[in-house]
């Protein structure tokens, strides 16, 4: 009898904790949505002091340039090598340009650039805002009648959103140059065929524009997750560190899941 009631008690606690987690997640999701709207509302106020946003574009975008350009170059070079290896078996090494350009412009450019951006810039945004919260700077701003969302959060959000498509385009462009370097300069694929086949099969509206739209959506997702995790962090050292971790994890999951959804919308054969 006593063991029985203990078992039911354990089940009840388990169910209770599941329910608690679900409602907790829903509350956070609801808060994130409200937070997004608050950012949009505060944007007008923060755009009036544009240098705040420009400063964030410098930190999030310009300072990520090095890692984006170097990774883009190497990914393009690897694509050039691997693509040549496979294509020359079927005697169509001339199509190397198409392979490199399409895979970069459609998928790798936006996705890898967004993943790098999330871990390079997203994590530092979360750390900054989380630490501001832990040291009660955000509360202090509120006391001085300065809206912390307009002053701190919105510029970082827009800095990320503006930087992301530019970084993704730079990633794709350097990647294609990397593929050119390996394919044409080192291996010796015909230069004319490399560019002309690429131009013949990469469509601006269908491929390039879809890639830019993708990177824009990723920019919104990553920036929102980064600022939200920072703003929602527990004001302790552990809380900030776990928010940074969850920025990187959630951004990566969001990017890959959104990529699947966007790809299935954009590239369905008619």
């Amino acid at each position: 009898m006593a063991g029985d009631s203990r078992a039911t008690g354990r089940i009840a606690t388990m169910l209770g904790s599941i329910g608690h987690r679900v409602t907790d997640g829903l509350i956070r999701l609801g808060f994130a949505t409200r937070f997004f709207l608050m950012i949009l509302l505060g944007s007008g106020q923060s755009f009036r002091r544009l240098h705040l946003t420009i400063r964030e574009i410098y930190f999030a975008g310009f300072q990520s340039l090095l890692i984006i350009l170097v990774s883009g170059l190497f990914i393009g070079m690897v694509l050039g090598m691997q693509g040549y290896e496979t294509l020359q078996r079927y005697g169509s090494a001339d199509a190397l340009g198409v392979l490199v350009a399409l895979s970069l412009v459609r998928e790798l450019g936006p996705v890898v650039a967004a993943l790098l951006f999330a871990s390079r810039a997203g994590s530092s945004i979360t750390a900054e805002i989380g630490l501001m919260k832990a040291t009660e700077q955000l509360t202090a701003m509120d006391m001085m009648a300065v809206n912390p969302i307009a002053r701190v959060v919105a510029p970082r959000f827009w800095g990320g959103v503006i930087s992301m498509p530019l970084l993704a385009a730079l990633f794709s462009a350097t990647g294609i140059l990397g593929g050119y370097l390996i394919g044409v300069v080192f291996i010796g694929v015909d230069e004319g065929a490399f560019w002309s086949q690429m131009q013949a099969s990469v469509d601006f509206r269908y491929d390039v524009w879809s890639g830019i739209v993708k990177s824009f959506v990723f920019g919104i997702a990553v920036s929102l997750i980064a600022v939200f995790e920072g703003y929602d962090a527990l004001p302790t050292a552990e809380g900030v560190s776990s928010s940074i971790k969850s920025t990187v994890v959630k951004s990566a999951l969001a990017i890959l899941a959104l990529d699947f959804v966007l790809t299935s919308f954009m590239f369905r054969e008619a």
């Binding site: 420009i54 310009f62 412009v105 498509p165 385009a169 730079l170 462009a173 491929d207 390039v208």
Partner: protein
């Protein structure tokens, strides 16, 4: 860091990003070549379109003069109705011949236009009367096998 220097670096960053987009648009994509300013539609009915896709090129004498805009099935005639968007700079005679061709041995399929000698030109949304369907490999092979088999019998 002073605000001026910050603005300078952000400006450099934005210019670089825009340049990359321009590079993707002009050098990688075909924004400069294949977007026709003005097009007019033509229709053609085919018994079989094979693997023809929307956006496939329409070529005449090997030059891209348009793109396939729409493909649908006509339940009355049991034929495929293909709408072509042709570059407004080019006009084709009334007796133009439309064929579905394949680029290379296993390449993509496209529509070739062989102009005839008619004085009257095709107008927008006219129908191309003379068409030739795609070559279906299975039919070709079965014809070949059938011929071979009958040859073998007549030899005996």
């Amino acid at each position: 860091m002073s605000r001026k220097l910050l603005d300078l670096w952000v400006g450099v960053f934005v210019v670089l990003g825009m340049a990359a987009m321009l590079f993707l648009a002009l050098k990688v994509g075909n924004l400069s070549a294949a977007n026709f300013a003005e097009t007019y539609p033509l229709r053609a009915n085919f018994v079989n379109i094979g693997g023809l896709k929307v956006r496939a090129p329409v070529k005449s004498a090997g030059v891209v003069v348009g793109r396939v805009a729409e493909i649908h099935f006509d339940p009355e005639s049991y034929e495929a109705v293909v709408t072509l968007n042709i570059d407004g700079r080019y006009r084709f005679p009334k007796d133009t011949f439309a064929l579905i061709l394949t680029a290379g041995l296993l390449g993509e399929q496209y529509i070739g236009l062989d102009p005839g000698g008619d004085e009257v030109m095709l107008k927008a949304s006219d129908v191309i009367a003379k068409t030739q369907s795609a070559v279906v490999l299975e039919k070709l092979i079965s014809q070949f096998m059938f011929n071979k088999a009958s040859e073998g019998q007549s030899d005996k």
